[in-house]
């Protein structure tokens, strides 16, 4: 569950995996690569879903680009 003021988002396991990698140390490409190798999938296949989820978090103000 991702908690923020007055609200929370219940993440499914895949979303939670992605969110856990948003530590400020990995680029979006690196996150996609890591997940692709972890699940034995092609990076191109999961790229769309990962960027969509990250964009949704950013739109809620829950994710920022690291400095």
């Amino acid at each position: 569950m991702l908690l923020y003021p007055e609200k929370g988002l219940v993440l499914n396991p895949t979303a939670a995996e992605i969110a856990k990698l948003c530590t400020g140390e990995h680029s979006v490409a690196a996150i996609i690569d890591q997940l692709a190798s972890r699940y034995g999938k092609d990076a191109g296949v999961i790229e769309g879903e990962v960027t969509k989820f990250l964009a949704a978090l950013a739109e809620r103000g829950l994710l920022r680009e690291a400095d």
């Binding site: 569950m1 908690l3 923020y4 003021p5 007055e6 929370g8 739109e59 809620r60 103000g61």
Partner: protein, 364 residues
């Protein structure tokens, strides 16, 4: 996940407050309720709430920072890994004390201002406080915490939404709550002085909507419509005794912060029993859980699982019957009461508001 798993504990630490806003949501007889829970009891309540599944904690009041044990309470919440939000007017607070809250593990601070100029804001607060509040907002950001700016809207400040948004941007707020007054407690007493006209409301709503889109991803702009101008009531507290546990300063376990103004409902006190037993067995909490209590038109309504019949307190304070459909609903038999209040807002000059006493009960 259980239907009645609570997510949020609202800890009303005190009813004491140096401000005296005319729309205060504390009970009108707040000054009579003096025996505040001690530190140990609050820490136990936090623990028991976490056991029930609670993940978020709102520390509120009154003014929570008048509690001298606030650092200790925040640290206790941190140990339980609760997401802890301090809801404050920012008065009386020093930068050092705020830093100690941060060090204890505070996650978010919500500061309320009353309007966008010192004169207007201080008139509502009854105290010179506006400049200090802005300073507090600055400290929140400097100390690395997210800032929520909250403004309660009514007919005197609803025209200032654009300026409020600009101020929130200047303060680098992460979230702006434009919360229209809920007409209960002091606000119901002062309704004629507070209720805006439909034109005022629509104009403000449009300004907020534009700001929301422009600031997407930078600042969340939230506009809470007053249910006097909505077609259907709000899902008050996400349903009675469902997602929120409110504990009053004196220890009553409530579904919302004003439910103890409903006569004849029995609410239990954490001084007498554990929270888990109260949460499942409290007669007051069970009174309006689920759908069995609903009258028509709620009982057969498509929206009954969306708005849960609206607000029980509003139903009672407007109709005298707490089991009635919320009059805010256009389908409610008593909706004419809301229409009459709107007509009054349209035609009458507002009388001066009545303020809650600024007298602060002696510190515990």
């Amino acid at each position: 996940m259980s239907e009645h798993r609570p997510y949020t504990l609202v800890a009303e630490l005190t009813y004491r407050c140096p401000l005296r806003c005319s729309y205060c949501s504390n009970p009108i007889d707040w000054a009579k309720r003096k025996s505040e829970l001690d530190t140990e009891t609050w820490l136990r309540v936090f623990r028991e709430a976490e056991d029930l599944g609670v993940v978020g904690l709102n520390l509120t009041g009154g003014e929570p920072i008048v509690r001298r044990d606030l650092e200790e309470l925040i640290a206790g919440a941190r140990k339980l890994d609760l997401y802890t939000n301090l809801i404050t007017s920012g008065i009386p607070l020093s930068r050092e004390r705020l830093a100690s809250f941060r060090a204890a593990g505070l996650d978010n601070v919500q500061v309320s201002i009353q309007d966008v100029t010192a004169t207007a804001s201080d008139r509502i607060a009854g105290l010179r406080s506006f400049e200090r509040k802005l300073e507090v907002c600055g400290w929140v950001k400097e100390l690395g915490m997210p800032l929520t700016l909250n403004v309660v809207l009514h007919r005197d400040n609803l025209g200032h939404v654009a300026e409020i948004v600009a101020l929130a941007e200047r303060l680098k707020a992460d979230r702006l709550e434009l919360a229209n007054t809920q007409y209960l407690g002091w606000a119901l007493l002062n309704r004629r002085a507070l209720l805006p006209t439909r034109e005022q409301l629509e104009e403000a709503r449009a300004v907020a909507a534009t700001a929301r889109m422009r600031l997407l991803g930078r600042m969340e702009v939230l506009f809470v419509t007053p249910d006097y101008y909505a077609d259907f009531p709000k899902s008050c507290m996400d349903g009675w005794g469902r997602r929120f546990i409110v504990v009053s300063p004196d220890g009553l376990v409530l579904p919302c912060h004003v439910a103890h103004t409903l006569p004849g409902l029995k609410f239990d006190n954490v001084k007498q029993s554990g929270l888990a037993a109260i949460w499942s067995d409290s007669a007051g909490l069970n009174a309006f859980r689920g759908e069995a209590w609903m009258p028509e038109p709620c009982k057969s309504c498509d929206k009954r699982a969306v708005d849960y019949g609206g607000c029980r307190c509003q139903a009672y304070h407007l109709t005298g019957n707490m089991g009635a459909t919320d009059p805010a609903c256009t389908l409610a038999p008593a909706h004419a009461l809301i229409e009459a209040a709107r007509r009054e807002a349209q035609t009458s000059e507002a009388p001066p508001p009545r303020y809650r006493s600024v007298r602060i009960a002696a510190a515990k």
